[in-house]
Amino acid sequence: MRLELKGITKKFGDFTANDQIDLVAESGEIHCLLGENGAGKSTLMNVLYGLYQADGGEVILDGKPTKFAGPGEAMKAGIGMVHQHFMLIPVFTVAENVILGHEPTKPLGFLDVEKARELVREISSRFGFDIDPDAVVGDLPVGVQQRVEIIKALISDAQVLIFDEPTAVLTPQETDELMEIMRQLKDEGKAIVFITHKLREVKEVADKITVIRLGKVVGQAKPSDTTEQLASMMVGREVDLSVNKDPANLGEASFQVQNLTAFSPSGNKVLDDVSFEVQRGEIFVIAGVQGNGQTELAESILGIQDKVSGSIKLEGKELLGKSVKKVLDSGVGFVPEDRTEDGLVADFTIAENLMLDRSDRPPFAKGIQLQLKNLHEFAGQKLKSFDIRARSIFSKANQLSGGNQQKVVLARELSRDLKLLIASQPTRGLDVGSIEFVHEQIVAARDSGIPVVIIATELDEATQLGDRVAVMYKGKIVGVVSPDTQREELGKLMAGISA
């Protein structure tokens, strides 16, 4: 099957997410769509899959122009999608999830459960998956859930398969296995469109590469091109992918976490006897696949996690059990993983967001009165020194790009007198330019002589930024290693296999 996208244009209001995009996917071929977050990759695929309607251009299948009013029609035409956020229903079984939308039935619309199980088993065995059709999807590990998603795409006999950022949630090993599955699908004659921003993966499996930037195709690339070439094409300028930092100038271990154990509201153990120390002038990275207790660890330190026991000491003072305000006042800077949810008030201006944590004290307040003049002066300075690209300090936070939002958060957190900086996935979803900036700021914080704790889910970030790397798995720290440890070694730790 041959799929051709011709001149696809999609606008959201004034914003053109896709501008005249062309793309061809042919059977027996893996076509990578490479671009940064926000470049318009997912929009393009949602247009193809019928989730969005294009404002211009056409989709041509085997020479015939087609239009999909919805995903149902796209599926019927032989297009399957493995979504970035799995389209699986956690409380349904594997079989129920797989058949949803094209259920085998007996008379009167009764489900043919046995046939559904058989379908799952059949496709599983073709790819060497070991999946129980009756397992409840929510109980399965993420990697297995993705396989269910793949089976689901294959069940309608899809000839074109779209993988939308499929590796974001996987361990390195699982990523390798996914690559293998993609090759196998290619050998079966499927046309594969692989959307990603990870250069390593592109180089590994791509037959063809199309790079898009700001909604436009900027060109084709070859898998044999160097990582730097691909990166500069994707970003639009020369980029330095490594983190520049001098050797750490270590001081005493001023931040100590001991025997930290925490339970989720539903009673699950989310932190299991976690202990570590961070020295002044050191970046301590906590790596691991998302959902292994990192969020709870950060929230425990900040004081918003319930049911925690153990001890968290900063310069000899206990933080555990104190209110968030007291913790912040004792010199903890916190960059949350979800900046739009926890880092900013979306409807507030940049200036207001910059004083969220200090709105009750000088220079921003005198008694019960806000000192707006001081605030505006302060915000103006920060706008410049953190290179926040906005019309003015009165722009609302939700009008900023992700990179600029993160700069606002950093500007706020770093302009206090810090004794500790905690940043949770500080570069998640940012463009390369902003990533460089955020990394610089974090290194600068380290060099100012405070301990820094970074929670990272991307291995590259963990090893480049960290002076030491701890790996978390199921609420435990399973190993603390040096950042030049082999990738495979770290991958094993992330999968819970202790060295």
Binding site: L51, G72, P90, G101
Partner: protein
């Protein structure tokens, strides 16, 4: 994972309450009448020593509480449902022994009446199940029941036909549900607020129409024919089971069909699978080509029709005429039954039966002349609702997308 301590604590509290009651069981004996006139063969009345019987039941409750405490605190396991059921049985029996001691308890009649009184609750909870399983929180059950009650009285009076009455009730219920559906699906209004507003609206509307229209023309507009008792041959003559289950009115038989039908449709058919997927994760349904909006409209309105049908019980089954606000909170109890029954139509029906029993007990006790003041008895079903939902339900998750409107990007 740590087990919730809620169940053993609830059991201990109830056990303490029961142990206060049991020593006060007065009277020598408790006479239980099981036989009814239609039985195939006569059954003698059972005579129990009331104090002894209550003590045995207390022992049963104690054993179940001990089991629950042991499982939760020592073995870190969940208390099995059967233990909770056994406990509840013991509690109910002990309370009955206390209340009916020295009198004759017409056990079979008590059960048959409970079933009948549970009918609108069950239909209401089916409406809730269909609506919430598809992702729309249904507070408007009360309004649907009331609309059904009013319409069936009016239409059945005018046409002199019970069947046309219930047909009209179903249409009315579906219409009320469609208001809920349109506001929550199309206009994305908060579903709980919409539901409450609908209830207030229907109470006002039916009360207004009742005063202006029905009250002056009672014989023409508010004197509907009633459901007739239909005894199913043979089945109806089996002792206990017969009079309870098979010597009932048409609407009770319809209720059996509705519970089984909704259960099978929800969990065994393609239709139900799609419906539940929409209630859990509508975007996932959308990406496999399921029409989220149509599924939601359809399911909510079918639910409304069932609740409307249930509402006809008040006028055509129980009272024989429409009265202002006659549903009296049944819609909310139905909602409680739905949650108690974990959004499963069969469990919800069982929970509704329990509430029906409490309602009927209140009537039965007024006749016997019980030691409890009648105001307290009026409270009974509601107290039971609170205790059941708060204490024994534990942590259950409803459909994940319930209450969240789906917006297509």
């Amino acid at each position: 994972m740590k087990q919730s301590k809620k169940t053993p604590i609830a059991l201990i509290v109830l056990l303490l309450a029961a142990s206060l009651i049991v020593p006060n069981v007065g009277g020598e004996q408790l006479e239980v009448q099981i036989a009814t006139r239609t039985d195939l063969f006569p059954i003698p009345n059972i005579i129990l020593p009331s104090q002894g019987f209550a003590t045995v039941m207390l022992a049963l409750m104690l054993a179940m509480t001990a089991l629950s405490v042991y499982l939760t605190f020592v073995r870190n396991k969940k208390t099995p449902l059967i233990a909770v059921i056994a406990f509840s049985f013991g509690l109910i029996m002990a309370v009955l022994a206390w209340l009916f001691s020295g009198a004759t308890m017409t056990f079979t009649t008590l059960l048959a009446g409970s079933l009948a009184l549970a009918v609108p609750l069950i239909f209401g909870s089916l409406s809730g199940a269909l609506s919430e399983r598809v992702g729309i929180i249904n507070i408007a059950i009360e309004g649907q029941l009331l609309a059904g009650a009013f319409t069936s009285a009016l239409v059945a009076s005018v046409t002199d036909s019970v069947l046309l009455g219930i047909l009209a009730a179903m249409i009315a219920g579906a219409l009320v549900a469609s208001i809920l559906a349109v506001f929550s699906i199309k206009y994305l209004v908060d579903q709980i607020i919409t539901g409450v507003v609908i209830n207030v609206l229907i109470i006002g509307l039916t009360s207004f129409l009742f005063s202006t229209l029905l009250a002056d023309n009672i014989s023409l507009l508010n004197q509907p024919p009633r459901f007739e008792r239909i005894s199913i041959p043979l089945l109806g003559q089996i002792p206990v089971i017969g009079p309870v289950l098979f010597n009932q009115t048409l609407i009770v038989y319809l209720m059996y069909l509705a519970v089984a039908g909704v259960f099978l449709a929800l969990f065994k058919t393609r239709w139900g699978l799609r419906l539940r997927s929409v209630g859990e994760y509508p975007k996932a349904s959308d990406t496999v080509g399921i029409n989220v909006f149509r599924t939601r409209y359809m399911s909510v309105m079918i639910g409304g029709a069932l609740a409307g049908l249930g509402g006809s019980f008040f006028t055509l089954g129980q009272v024989g005429a429409f009265g202002k606000e006659m549903t009296n909170g049944a819609g909310y109890i139905a909602l409680a039954a739905l949650i108690f029954g974990r959004w499963n139509p069969v469990y919800a029906a069982m929970a509704a039966l329990l509430f029906g029993f409490a309602l009927n007990l209140q009537y039965a006790l007024q006749i016997v002349g019980s030691p409890l003041p009648s105001e307290f008895l009026l409270m009974l079903p509601y107290v039971l609702t609170v205790v059941a939902v708060a204490g024994l339900v534990g942590k259950v998750k409803g459909p994940a997308a319930a209450g969240k409107p789906y917006v297509k990007s």
